[in-house]
């Protein structure tokens, strides 16, 4: 193989694909509304923390599943973020991204003084993501509600999935009133679809002991929100009547 080759080839790049956590030992800075006061720095979790077992038994979201299996589509969220950045992202960044998506479902008033204010999502030191979204008092309120969704460790990503799903469902004309994503055997799991004139103004989503509200849009998303357009929800992603089911994630397979 050669002396130098053993040094260059050791620890191949493939290892980074296997373990993206290896590049997460860095700060992730998130800037919201371009206001210096809103700048926050999140310490990325240590690799030990990331690998700690969950406190509650839950399905393994990181494991690739067979096509058609019921599994959280966290890969879809991750993929949406990684379309903008060229490096692995943390749960924090995904959560911020989801929050921005939820905010875009809010109505926009022409007299809003902060219309088209910018949202910037910084990941690492060099990558910058800019999205355009309407800022509005109600938007901020929704954002505040969304930020109340705090779950530790692995559950943060699941909550992110759920909130993304919920906002998708609202945009799609369907809504989830109540669901449980990580306890398939829980008897009280139930899903209600609301369509047409029954479309609600807000949806309460409950995941285990955590609940939050997603506002329904009274108007289509603003034209200015085009930097990161909401993806059309394919039929397979709409929650079926028998539960909060997720489509198989092709993104999983790509990331693993």
């Amino acid at each position: 193989m050669g002396y130098l080759q053993t040094l260059v080839a050791s620890g191949p790049a493939a290892a980074r694909n296997i373990e993206p956590s290896a590049t997460l030992e860095q700060d992730v800075t998130v800037v919201v509304d371009s206001s210096p006061a809103s700048k926050r720095t999140h310490e990325a979790p240590s690799s030990l923390d990331r690998e700690s077992p969950p406190a509650v038994t839950a399905p393994d979201v990181a494991r690739p599943r067979a096509e058609g299996a019921s599994t959280p589509d966290i890969g879809g969220v991750i993929d949406e973020v990684t379309r903008w950045v060229s490096q692995p992202v943390t749960g924090e960044a995904i959560e911020e991204m989801t929050r921005a998506r939820a905010a875009r479902t809010e109505p926009v008033r022409p007299d809003s003084p902060t219309l088209d204010s910018r949202e910037e999502l910084h990941v690492g030191r060099t990558e910058r993501i800019e999205t355009t979204a309407a800022s509005h008092p109600e938007t901020n309120a929704a954002r505040s509600r969304a930020s109340s969704v705090q779950a530790a460790g692995w559950f943060r990503e699941r909550d992110t999935v759920a909130s993304t799903r919920a906002s998708d469902a609202v945009q799609d004309g369907t809504a989830i009133e109540s669901s449980s994503i990580d306890r398939p055997s829980t008897p009280e799991r139930e899903t209600k679809r609301v369509t047409g004139s029954e479309r609600p103004r807000s949806v309460d989503v409950r995941i285990g002991s955590i609940s939050f509200t997603v506002k329904a849009p009274s108007a289509p998303p603003p034209a200015s929100a085009k930097a990161a357009p909401s993806q059309p929800v394919p039929a397979s992603r709409a929650p079926p009547p028998d539960g909060f089911r997720f489509s198989t994630s092709r993104h999983y397979l790509r990331r693993s």
Binding site: M1, G2, Y3, L4, Q5, T6, L7, V8, S10, G11, P12, A13, A14, A15, I18, E19, A22, S46, S47, L48, P53
Partner: protein
């Protein structure tokens, strides 16, 4: 890289897997440079008991870093390293024992000399942990990696032939990097010369030790609700005692 300071510190070494620091950073053979940094910074101490300052062990040559890995492994009580080999003829697997004491060689971190075309002599330094880390992450072409090691004043880039000459000179100076062993298959008797990646082998053993330590911490924390750092800092015999008690009560 210009002149390098000579490290005169008399480092002492302890076994890996016997302190809380040993579970702070992950040891993985696929991330050798970072893993070796973590191991050396955890297990080496100067005369006053202080760990090496950040960046010190990265500046050491890869040969010296591997030598310290062997020393740490031996401090844990291992006299031999068991390597699984595959016979090139009958494909049977067999185990090879490497005497670790014989792998500890006198270290010479001085530059190596090698000859290029027309008998011209060139000089290059040994690669360091910093080089190792950068080459891994950048996938540096061999010619550029070799050129970066030159310490003579000529600014030219080495060609493939010169790179191979430098490669041979480095392998001669640091023979443990690609440890060549003569094997005889116990199944078919075929003899062969095989290369052993001792560094990868050792890192695999350390990673296994770390996983075992984490498993013990998990078991004791689950039962006794002690802090992770406290359990990790326990002497191995005390951990073994408590684990034995847990095992007996569970049975």
């Amino acid at each position: 890289m210009g002149s390098r300071e000579i490290d005169h510190t008399a480092w002492s070494v302890r076994a890996f897997g016997s302190a809380a620091a040993d579970v702070e950073r992950r040891i993985h053979p696929r991330a050798p440079a970072a893993s070796i940094d973590a191991l050396l910074e955890s297990c080496l101490a100067d005369e006053e008991g202080h760990a090496p300052l950040p960046g010190v062990v990265s500046s050491w040559s890869v040969a010296r870093r591997l030598d310290w890995l062997v020393a740490i492994r031996m401090a844990g009580g291992a006299a031999t390293e068991h390597v699984v080999m595959t016979c090139a003829v009958c494909r049977a697997q067999f185990e090879l024992e490497i005497d670790l004491a014989r792998c500890r060689l006198a270290q010479d971190d001085g530059p190596v000399e090698f000859s290029v075309a027309h008998g011209v002599s060139r000089r290059a330094r040994l690669p360091t942990g910093t080089d190792h880390s950068r080459w891994q992450s950048e996938r540096t072409p061999l010619v550029l990696a070799a050129t970066g090691l030159l310490v003579d004043s000529r600014p030219d880039v080495l060609d493939d032939e010169a790179t191979q000459a430098l490669d041979a000179a480095l392998a001669q100076r640091d023979p443990l990097r690609e440890l060549s062993v003569e094997t005889a298959c116990p199944e078919c008797g075929a003899s062969a010369r095989q290369l052993v990646n001792l560094e990868e082998q050792l890192l695999g053993a350390f990673a296994s030790t770390q996983r075992r330590l984490l498993g013990e911490i998990e078991t004791l924390a689950r039962v006794f609700h002690w802090r992770e750092a406290d359990i990790a800092d326990m002497p191995a015999w005390r951990r073994a005692f408590y684990l034995d008690r847990v095992s007996r009560e569970g049975a």
